[in-house]
Structure formats: C-alpha cells, structure tokens
Amino acid sequence: MDVFRDLLFGFSIATLPMNLLFCFIGVLVGTLIGVLPGIGPPAALSLLLPVTFHVPPVSAIILLAGIMYGAMYGGSTTSILVNIPGEAASVVTCLDGYRMARQGRAGAALGISAFGSFIAGTVSIFLLIFLAPTLAKFALRFGPPEYFSLMIMGLSILVYLARGSIINALIMVCFGLMLGTVGLDNMTGVTRFTYKITSLMDGLGLVQIVIGLFGVSEVFLNVERAFKQEVLKTKIKGLLPNREEWRRSIFPIGRGTIIGFFLGVIPGMSVVIPTFLSYTLEKRLSKHPEKFGTGMIEGVAGPESANNAASCGTLVPMLSLGIPTGAATALLLGALMIHGLRPGPLLMTESPEVFWGVVASLYVGNVMLLILNLPLIPLWVKILKIPYHYLFPLILLFCIIGSYTTNNNSYDIIIMTIFGMIGYLMKKLDYEAAPLVLALVLGPIMENAVRRSLVISDGDVTVFFTRPISAFFLIAGLLILFSPLFLKKTRVSAELRTGEE
C-alpha cells in the first residue's frame, strides 16, 4: 500500500541521527514545560523558533511538534503529585490523580498516564495517517451554530461531573460563565467588567485561575492543617500500575483516545474539553461512579489519553488544510512558512519528506517520551517525601512563576492569589472547581458562537435546529442533561441522591 511505503519513507527521515536528536530535544523541553505550571507550549515554541532557522525544515518541525505533544505527557505530573495542573488540559487529572497520590499510588497514577499517553499517541498517529484528509473536510463543516450546540452538549455533562451537590455544581458553572465574560468583546469591541484595568482587557487568564483554584488553595488548606504528612504514613506501594489497575484502565484509555482525537480535529476546540468529556464518560460507565474523585485510576487514564490524542488531532487541520487550530499549531504554520514551505493541502505532495518525516517522528517521539518518563516516576514520587515546610513555599514559588510567565504580567499573580483565596473558600464550603473551569472554557466559545450564528443567519434562531450536526449535538445534550431523570433506578440517580443529601 502506498501509505505504508510513504510511512517507511517518513521513518527513514525521522530516524536520521540529527532528526532523532531534534526529536529528543523537543520532547524533553516539552516534558519540562509540561511539568512547570503556567508555561505552555506556545511560549516554549516561540522561544525555540529562532533556533530552528538554521536547520532543515523537517528537523525544525520535528523539534517544535515534539514540544507540543511532549507537554501533554508532563502536564499530569504536578496534577497528580501536588494538585496543581501543569497545563489546563490536566485539570481533571487532579480530581482522582491527586487522591491516588494521597493513597500512596502516585507511581501508578503517573505510570498509567504515561502509558495512556503513549497508547493514545500511537493510535492517533494511525488515525491521522488514514483519516486526515476526510476528517479535515468534515471539520470545516463546523460553523458557528455547530460550535454553539457542541458547547451546550459540553455543559450538559456537568450533571455527571459533579462529585457532590448538583446545585453547588450549577452555581459554580454560573460563576465560571460569568468569569468568562470579562474582557474585550470580540463582536463590538466593548470592554466588559474590566473596571478600567488594562490587564483585564483580554479577560481573566485560564492558567491563573486554574493555578489559583487548585494549587494555591491546596497550599492554604494544608498549611492550616496540622503538619502531618499523610504520604509518609501511607507507604508508597509499587511504582507502576498493577495488573488490576491495568485491567480497569485499558478501556478508558481507548475511549479517551477516540474522544480526544476526534474533538482535537475540530479547529478552535480546546484540548481541555476532551479531557472533561472523557472523565464524564468514564464516570457514567463505571460500576462505582460514587467513588470517582476518591482516587479512581479510570479518572486518570481516560483524560490523560484524551489530551494526548487531542494534541495529535489538532495536527490534522494544520497538516492537511493549513489551518491553525490554536496558538501552538499557528506557530508550527509560521515555522513552515519561514522555511519557505507551503503549509496546507499541497504540503503532502510538494514536500513529502516534511509531511511524512514529521508524522513518523510523532511515533518516534512517543516512544522516547515513554522511555523518558518511566524512569522519572520514582524521582517524582520522592518529591512527596519533601517535608511540607519546604515543599509548600516551593509550590507557591512555582505557582507564581507559572502565572507570571504566561503573559509576563505581574497582574496575573494578583489574579492567581485572589483565585487561590476563592478556591480555599470553595473547598471549605464544598464547592468544586472542576465545573467552574469547564464553564470558563466553554462559555466564551459558546457566547461568540451564538452571536456569530445569529449575525450570519440574520437573527434566525432555527439555524441551530435545521443544521444536522448542530441538531445532533443539541439533542445529545438534552439527553445527557435529563438522563438521570429517566434512568431513575440506575446507579446514576442513586449517586445523585446521595449527592443531594
């Protein structure tokens, strides 16, 4: 088959010593920025971009792509160990990953996210090779109405995301939606809720809110407790997932991969949303949904696979159509242009060595990441043995660095601190942060989508129901939202009842 011949050709390029080296540097840098909260792939990509001017284009793109998916491996590390998501895409990993670490299963959680990422990455590469052209065309059919309906469906999953009270989760969703309205309105140019503060013009930063709500508040909470280190009491049992954990994780990894990849293909879809969907799905399918949030390995395996598959999916529109799906892929496009290549539909035929070389390097990079990450696990777990009076100041320091470096703006540290306090109160009063983060991600996309749809349709609301893809998502959303009512006798409602008590 042609594809296999092309792929072999790609491997012959990706395994050249120089390209292997660049691939390694890429995934190493990616892992590191993934571990550091705040510093996201775009910042690292643009810092390294000038370095790539003097190397052949294939090597340059291999390096830059390595950073992008390498970050997805690293992002889970701090989520699991200290409850601070390294990337927004690892927020859900905190829910069960951190609990697992508390129970002495940090190694297993880290291990399953590395293996999950590896499996997801590998499967996604094959999906990318075989489905890229078809999928990219399908992704184009997503106009504003489809985005709106997809976001509605995304919001409806909250009924399964809530760990405790549904009412509290709804309040958090509203809070998140409100926070999402801050900043310059894209349609009219009006500034909303900025109180003449210039730094608020682009809205509240997702990174700062996430670091505040999860990381800083966790530190506050722990400082308040007696200085007892739970992890030291519970012995760290085994550094890799055991057979039972593997059995429980394998299907979540598969489902997470599928969700992540296909949602990643849709331009403008953030990598965050698939992780939430995956988590919800696992909770819905689990025999013990009530145990989610207490350290279920499924809740780590699914989302971690989803975010890796999604970062691979974002390459589909970029490689086959030349459309950027986010800041990171926009940078890759820019790099292609600087090297005199023509990104877009012609790339595959005009510069096959770049296209297939990069695709093959994705595979090579995933193997490297697995080899790189597994030996690191014992090292990471040791972090938990650092006495709290050293660990907490360090965590706070990294939170501050992370918040600052996203925009090089000291205002963001204030935002982070405020949300640290809000997060502390939320934890005290039993409000969860995950629904808030979900709403904050979905809200702005949803608002812009509904307004664009109505401008395009001259104010006709039926546009959401008459377009098939859009109608499908709306119906799916409604079904998810009301399914607990219809399935009264099921586990789900049992869980909801216990939640409302």
Binding site: P50, T191, K196, G268, L321, P343, G344, N408
Partner: protein, 324 residues
Amino acid sequence: MKIRRLERCICFLLLVICFIGAAPAAAQDYPKGTIQLVVPFGSGGATDIFWRTLGDHFSKAFKTTIAIVNKPGGGGIVGMSGVLNAKPDGYTLCAGNSDTVNINPLFTKNLPFDTIEDVNYIVKVANFPQSLVVRTESPFKTFEDVIAYARANPKKLKASTPGVGTNPAMALRLISYDAKADIVPVGFSGGGESITALLGGHVDMAGIALPAARSQVQAGKVRVLAIFSKERHPLYPDIPTAYEKGYKQTLVDTGMGVVGPKGLPAEVIKKWETVVQATLKDPAVIAAIHKFDFVPDYQNGAQYKKEILDEFNMFKQVMAQSAN
C-alpha cells in the same frame, strides 16, 4: 538554627535577583547591553514571528542581543503601556502595529495612554497588506462584482474578520463607507478562525491579512479579489488594489515599527533609524520579510508618526459617519 539557614538562603536569592534585575544604562555609544523589544502580542502570531526573525538581523547590526518578550493583551495596549512607563533609555522598546495605536482608541474607552501623544514613534520597518478573499467556487470574480452585489442587496453579504478593532475589520468598514456597499462583518477570534469559517462556506468572504490567506490561495481554495494597499504588492503584481479601482479611501495596511517611551535620547532614535535603513537594504533581510508577504517600508520617526496620525483621523471620520 534551621530558620537562620533559610533566612540566609532567602537573602542570597534576593541578592541574586537584584543583580539580574540591574540592567546597564547609558546614553552615548548606544547600545551597550541587551535591548528588550516587547512584542505586545502572544507568541506564535504573525507579529511575533516577524520580530523574532528580524530580531536576529537587528541583533547583528546593533552588535548586541535583541531580546523579544511577549506581553500580550488588549490588542497590544497592555504591552505597549508597560514600555511607555519604562525608563526612556532605549533598552526597553516596543514593537508597534498600526492598529494598536490608530484603531484601538476608536473602540476602547479609557485607554491608559494617548496613542498619538504619549508614544514615541521611532522607526517604521514594514507593511503587511490586508485583503478581501472569497472561495474559489464563489460567483464573485472581481472586487467590482462584490461591490455591485452588495449595493443591490444591502446586508446580504457576510464577511468574516479576525475580530473588531483589527485592520481587516476596518477595511470592511472603509469599503462600506467608500463604496456605499453594505457588507456585514462577522468578528471571529483571529485570522485562523476567520479563514476557516470562509473555507467551510459559513460566510461569503473574508477580510484577512494577505499572509494569513496565502497558503489557501496557493492551494487554489480561495481567490484574492483585492488588497487595500496604495500600490500593488511586489510579489503579487496581478492582485488589484481597491485604491486603483477608484476607492481612494479604502486604504489600510498594517504598519510595523518600533516605538518607545517619551524622552528617549536623540542618539537612540538616530541609531535605530540608521540601523533599520541599512538593514532593510540587505537582500537577505528583504528576502526574510518577503517570506511573510510583508513589504519593507522604512520611514523615520517623524514620517512614521504622521502616517499613523493621518490614518487615525481618517478612521475616526469613517467611524463617525458610518455610525449614523
């Protein structure tokens, strides 16, 4: 004991931070140390990539490092406002895009500074053209086709833009005003989303920076009907301008230059003018700029400021009249 050791550590760290923070400052024989060039946009955008590429060349010409720092926010306002408050020694400068200073104030009230009076316009480096594109399948073959249709069917045509307050969005307003052709702009978040909406057929046309549309043009997916520069693009002499078709006010280029705080030493401005003028004659630099579809356009500080002011007044007039 333990606490005292910790204290000592903290003191040491603070000391280190102080040393890192202290930057060399001198007026004569500028530049003596690293020049920080704030790019007030996120990493990965056209502006960022442009300055990172040119930064390399300027670093060589200045014989010092030009460090690019991204400080995004508010369409360039956040980063620029930080630079304007910095010490006017020429070591903290800002990459200025014309829309930051001549379109922003028309939409955003309460800007922290006056974009004409408080900004020190040092030197202009390049232009990048804005264009009107349609899908290849579109019935519109020429710019006149669009105008004729829009005149006959007001508000029927929808055009995606990278968002309100951007140059392409301004270009659409100028068309509506200049050609009396009512086209409805649909603001997206950035050029990538905007061209995607066009490719998917969700809008009739897109106002977009030419570089952002280029790969789709080459792939035969979209067609450029016109650009909004005064002269035709040296790389694409076949693309007509709206100006030559008689729409004399439909002129909007994104000018890129270097700006700084008020009170910069004259030597600093002189040095930048000389260096930029010389660098823009280097064929390698021209080639690098052309890779982005940008056009080198050297202008000294005074010319640069006048151009910004003229555009600003023009836009203000259009905004005022199209409001009713």
